[in-house]
Amino acid sequence: MAEAATGALRRTLNLRRPDEVYNAIIDAHRDLDDDQCRAFDAGLILLLANHVGDADVIAEALAAARLSLNGGSRAD
């Protein structure tokens, strides 16, 4: 993938009630098996990506999300 421009993706809190949003996401997955989770997340990502609408932000988020694979370390 092309190197994402940095600075487009928000790094500081943008949620008024962060615990509620976080738990709403978790709760939405609670009754789903792994395949259903994958399907659900795919739909969710598409909906949110369209809402964000900014290809640079999305590209940066795609790169940043890889951090979740390595417990937060940059090496991948």
Binding site: R38, A39, A42, G43, L46, N50
Partner: protein, 542 residues
Amino acid sequence: MSSYEYRHYPYQRPPELDGKGKRRPVVIVGAGLAGPTLALALAVRGVASVLLDEDDTVSNGSRSICQAQHSLETWDRFGIAQRMVDKGITWEQGEVYLHDTPIYHFNLAPEPGHKFPAFVNLQQYYVEEYLFDRCLAEKLIDLRFRNKVVGVRPDSKGVVLDVETPDGRYTLEADWLVACDGVRSTVRHLLGLPFPGEVFHDQFLIADIRFTSDLPKERRFWFYPSFHPTNSVLLHRQADNVLRVDFQLGRDADPEEEKKPENVDRRLRQMFGPEATWEHEWCSVYTFTCRMMERFVQGRVIFAGDAAHVVSPFGARGGNAAVADVDNLAWKLARVLDGTSPASLLESYCSERRAAAQENILNSTRSTDFITPKFPASRAFRDATLALAREFPFARSLVNSGRLSVPTIQPGSSIDTPEGDTDWLRGPAPGTAMVDAPVVNGRGGFLVDHVGPGFTLISFAARAVDLPELPAGMTGVMVAREGSAPSGWTALQDRDGLLRQRYDGRAGTAYLIRPDRYVAARWRRPDARELAAALRRATGHG
């Protein structure tokens, strides 16, 4: 099996076999879609060619059925496009289904006022038949059936070919050889040139069948329909009440089993129900590849069409790209042959059409990945897109059942002039294809009728006296509110106001259109010096 009667065109003993050959400026190998179109486009410019084909008939099977607007405009130059429109099925609408429910309807030609529709569906054998008829009537084209190229020896001045015929073998010398000999190009093999790319393993079954009842005119595409629940199906109408049904079979299907008429009929019966009746026209199981040569011009040998690049059938890009290739090539080769341009002009054929092939391959690979996802996450996103599509319009736009062929964009070509003015609201930029609009010139017509075969300047003006001075080698089309056309100019009225709208044509605006109907340059108010510089650049003298 087929209702189409394959004509066998006569073979004639070539004069070279009796020692009466002479060196030819252009030899074209392959009379599919690209070869005859090139021969005709050269003939329009007064260039003679020899066109060789190993066969003596048209395409075996329907193959390419969707003939795009840009191709029709090219064929219109030879007077055969109307015949195709009359015989074919004009369609602009399509419907995408998930299971058995429509989720997305599209219209490819939302705007009126074009001479030709977005697509005409016509079997490749008809297109080739009309091309052959026209080639056989053209004195500058020497079309030779059952002449198979078996040897190619390039040298610095040209190429020597070995050609096999029913009467034996002969050699033919040419200044330029154009290989339009298809995906398995003999010329490419003989020269040992690589054809790198990607191989796809999914199999598809094509069944072309003739129906007697009323048929849908639109394109229909199903994901997981109840009559083929594990995969996708495409349905498309062709001339003579023929339907194309294209079943995705997956990787593991046995092609010989699938092709058996009883198995094809079983699938069709599930699809069309107990009442329908049909006859078989053509049946084939295919897989596909996406490949492209590194260079389309190799000394005096030029490659075009499938010989130079191939894509998946999704998007109807193969045949239409082949036509666009030779449209791009013909005027350049004609200029190189008559010495008005240097041979380096052909470099722009290579770079522009490679960029186009890349765009086609990218689009076709994306469609392929959507239709046949390669890994579980890809499938999850595809299925989520389909599931959301009914309710969310944005997701409909992501559904990719083939992004249908439109003229590719060739930005930044060395022969186009970068834009100086920046206040364009609309209109085709350099590197994009011109757009058509209705005009009046004595009688009704379309802009495409007044462009070419050379370079054309489209000028918008308040008064004819405001027009810029035309450099030699350019004809003018004036869209003026008053005054009659000076010499070298044709006056057009903007019938519905669409011309000014589509070109953002304020007074003073001018577009330089290349012979292949791509925009070379545009200005808000060019002077004679700028026009001449753009023309020099576009003809390889820049």
